[in-house]
Amino acid sequence: MPESGRRRQQLMDTILDVSGVRKRFPGVTALADAHLMVRAGEVHALVGENGAGKSTLVGVICGAVQPDTGRMRFLGEDYHPRSPQEAYQSGIRVVFQHLSLIPNLSVTDNLFLGREMAGALGFIRRRDMGVRARTLLEELGFAHIPASARVDTLSTSQKYLVEVAKAMLERPKLIILDEPTAALNAAETSVLFDLVASLKDAGSGVIWITHRLEELYQITDQVTVMRDGRFVESRPTASLERDEIIRLMTGRQIADSEAPDPAHIGSENRLVISDLHTAGGLKGLSMAVRAGEVVGLGGLAGSGVEEIGRALYGLHPVTRGEIELLGRPFRPRDLRPHRLARQGIFYLPGDRQSEGIVDVRPVSENATLSSLDALGRMGFLHRLNERRTVADYVQRLRVSTPSAAQPIKLLSGGNQQKVLFARGMLTEPQLFILEEPTQGVDVGSKADIYAVTRELAEAGAAVIVISTDTRELLTVCHRIIAISQGRMSREFTQGEADEEQLVSAYFGSQDSREAV
């Protein structure tokens, strides 16, 4: 093929071409020079640390953010959407991490929201919509989601899949998936992979945004790396090594996180639970965690694993069982955050945005919120002392913020999470319960958080890590407990398991494929 012919071929294949896009917000350049070229039938990974400009770029593509300069072409035509509606009409769909479903409406109503099937006189054709919704869910492989169920009765992962289904109502020409597997379990992830493969066959473009690098090799064809609002590199996925991607994203080499040293594990039990039952998931869990030990808890969505931390911290009802924290027995009604926080237990919620940070308040106030008693006498605050302490932790945990007076919502996810770690560490707890400690956190911050977790254990604290990220559990824990159907299905000591064995233990069987 002559050079010009190949070029034409390439241009025809290209469905989205973004070049030289710049966007400044007051005080911040979110995009300095962004480029992105997505071809038809391609799964295109967009990676970069938090704050690299991925979300702003997505905002520009879907019409929510107006760029200052730059050119975009979509399906061979100039494309400058002034609103999300315009982008929608062009055939672009975005599925965000943060869900936009209306909780008290049914799955069907949500799928058709704003695009109701209506007959004469505008009456809604409920029955037709229900049938269409059921067929759609079946086609997509989401048959386990009842179309008539209210959305607030669904699990987080099911809600996410409904969100995906909503985008699939008419086949999109380009679909953008933001951290698509964050909320999904192994089985659901494989269903989503199948769906993406079929979109690819049908010639749609897919932009896949993720922090989980192992996914790139499973599903994506091309990788575009962004850093500090700029385009860095775009190459076929197969030609890039994992370490190379990390180097491009961070601009530095990040060593693999060290495994924790078991030499620091003490003999004293910081947490003992026996026969723990909770309203919903747990049906007789028994386990113990010692000082200096990092214990991981993993399992499928619905296995009860997501209730352990909440139950221990008094946020989810305990129906039966005994709990001993820091050597003292606790009745379920004594498990209250205010009390537990004072007694040296720190809980890091899995949902950072809605349960962790106080978004409008400054970094400093977020950091010291749990340790105000220690900051002065009789509740009066020693603010100079506070400023020094916060500055100390900002430096120690490498929190990247212009100042500690910055509202925390302006920080990236990784930096917000570090501030929450500082909040915990300031109370000098003896037991840390960490839920999804690195969800939505960039690679650099992830390594920092793992290092801090190891330090905490080495300093004598007991740490529980509850995570859907199997790689994470295998990296940071001395011991991993796999939860299946509300009970411990298997226990692995450090180095004993690989990802496959762990996942198979989640299914409670020897072979994970059988269970899928």
């Binding site: 911040v28 938090n50 409008v360 308040r361 010291t368 105000l372 007076a405």
Partner: protein, 335 residues
């Protein structure tokens, strides 16, 4: 992933170390809508009325501001926790009634002390009732304080039969209204003291931090170990005490126990707080902003009175300003 649309340059009114610097910073950043309004209004009224800028009028404004500022600070505290208090006007009236009743019953200086105590206790009781219902039973502040306003107004009318309590001793007025200490009028001293205590509570004490945190995100605050219920209760209780103080002071000024005192205070205090940058969504805004908002509304009413605008038209203006302030607040705190 954080949305970059939130990356708008702005400051939070969190106090800071230096009160003067803080106030300056907040005037220029936080009360963005208020400053131009202030200037326009001051220019207009000083042109329209020769009396507006006179020393005598300024002194009147300062004294008038006292009562309203006390109520606005009360309102600001509960708004910072994410609520609001529609019962401030009614509580003011009931306070006025109990204060007058006690003072009529007990003659002499002892009566004044007792009456002041009774007035503050009345305000505190209303605040405690609000706080208890809102924190323990999780009823929305709108319903609780709206209902409370009706209950408290009814109580005031039952006690008095709708007739004001007259014949308060002159000493009462001479102490709390026209009295002075080293040349500074007593009302000014009271408001300075209250502002000082509120400043310490909000920015140099755990309590204020807890209020801001609860207003910013009650779930996060709860998980971080903040005693959310206690913080909410104390916010409404403090507001009640402040309203009680305002009620006692106002009774001394009008010289009678009025069952209809403070009728428009609820709406006006919310308008002033929002104009001063206290967000209706909670967790944002500063004491200084709220005080500026209060002074602004008092100046506005004074000016409108001077140029002869009827009180009916003034009601329309206040209402429109509140809605305008909420819209500004919405854009200011967007995200």
């Amino acid at each position: 992933m954080n949305t970059m649309a939130e990356t708008r340059g702005r400051e939070t009114g969190d106090g800071g170390g230096n009160a003067v610097l803080d106030a300056a910073r907040i005037i220029f950043t936080k009360t963005g809508a208020l400053l131009p309004l202030f200037v326009i209004m001051a220019i207009y009224f000083s042109v329209a009325s020769e009396h507006f800028l006179s020393g005598r009028n300024m002194s009147t404004i300062a004294t008038q501001s006292v009562y309203f500022t006390l109520v606005v600070i009360a309102q600001a505290i509960v708004m910072i926790t994410g609520g609001f208090d529609l019962s401030v006007g009614a509580a003011l009236a009931l306070t006025s009634i109990t204060t007058s009743s006690v003072i009529v019953a007990v003659p002499g200086a002892g009566g004044i002390v007792l009456a002041t105590g009774a007035g503050m206790l009345t305000g505190a009781s209303v605040g405690a009732a609000n706080g208890l219902l809102i924190s323990q039973f999780r009823v929305s502040p709108l319903i609780v304080t709206l209902g409370m306003a009706s209950v408290v107004s009814g109580l005031a009318l039952i006690i008095t039969g709708g007739v004001p309590i007259f014949n308060l001793p002159q000493l009462f007025k001479e102490t709390l209204y026209t009295g002075d200490l080293a040349g500074v009028p007593v009302p000014w001293l009271v408001v300075l003291l209250v502002v000082g205590i509120a400043y310490i509570a909000l920015y140099w004490h755990r309590l204020g931090r807890n209020w801001y945190a609860v207003g910013g995100n009650p779930v996060s605050a709860h998980i971080a170990g903040v005693p959310v219920k206690r913080a909410l209760f104390l916010a409404y209780l403090s507001a009640g005490v402040l309203v009680g103080i305002a009620g006692v002071m106002l009774t001394a000024r009008v010289g009678s126990g009025e069952p209809n005192l403070g009728g428009t205070f609820a709406l006006q205090s919310i308008a002033a707080a929002v104009l001063g940058g206290i967000s209706l969504r909670g967790g944002q805004g500063s004491l200084w902003g709220a005080i500026l908002g209060a002074i602004f509304l008092v100046l506005l009413q004074n000016g409108l009175d001077l140029v002869g605008v009827s009180s009916y038209l003034q009601m329309i203006i206040t209402g429109a300003l509140l809605v305008f302030a909420v819209i500004v607040d919405h854009y200011w705190h967007k995200g």
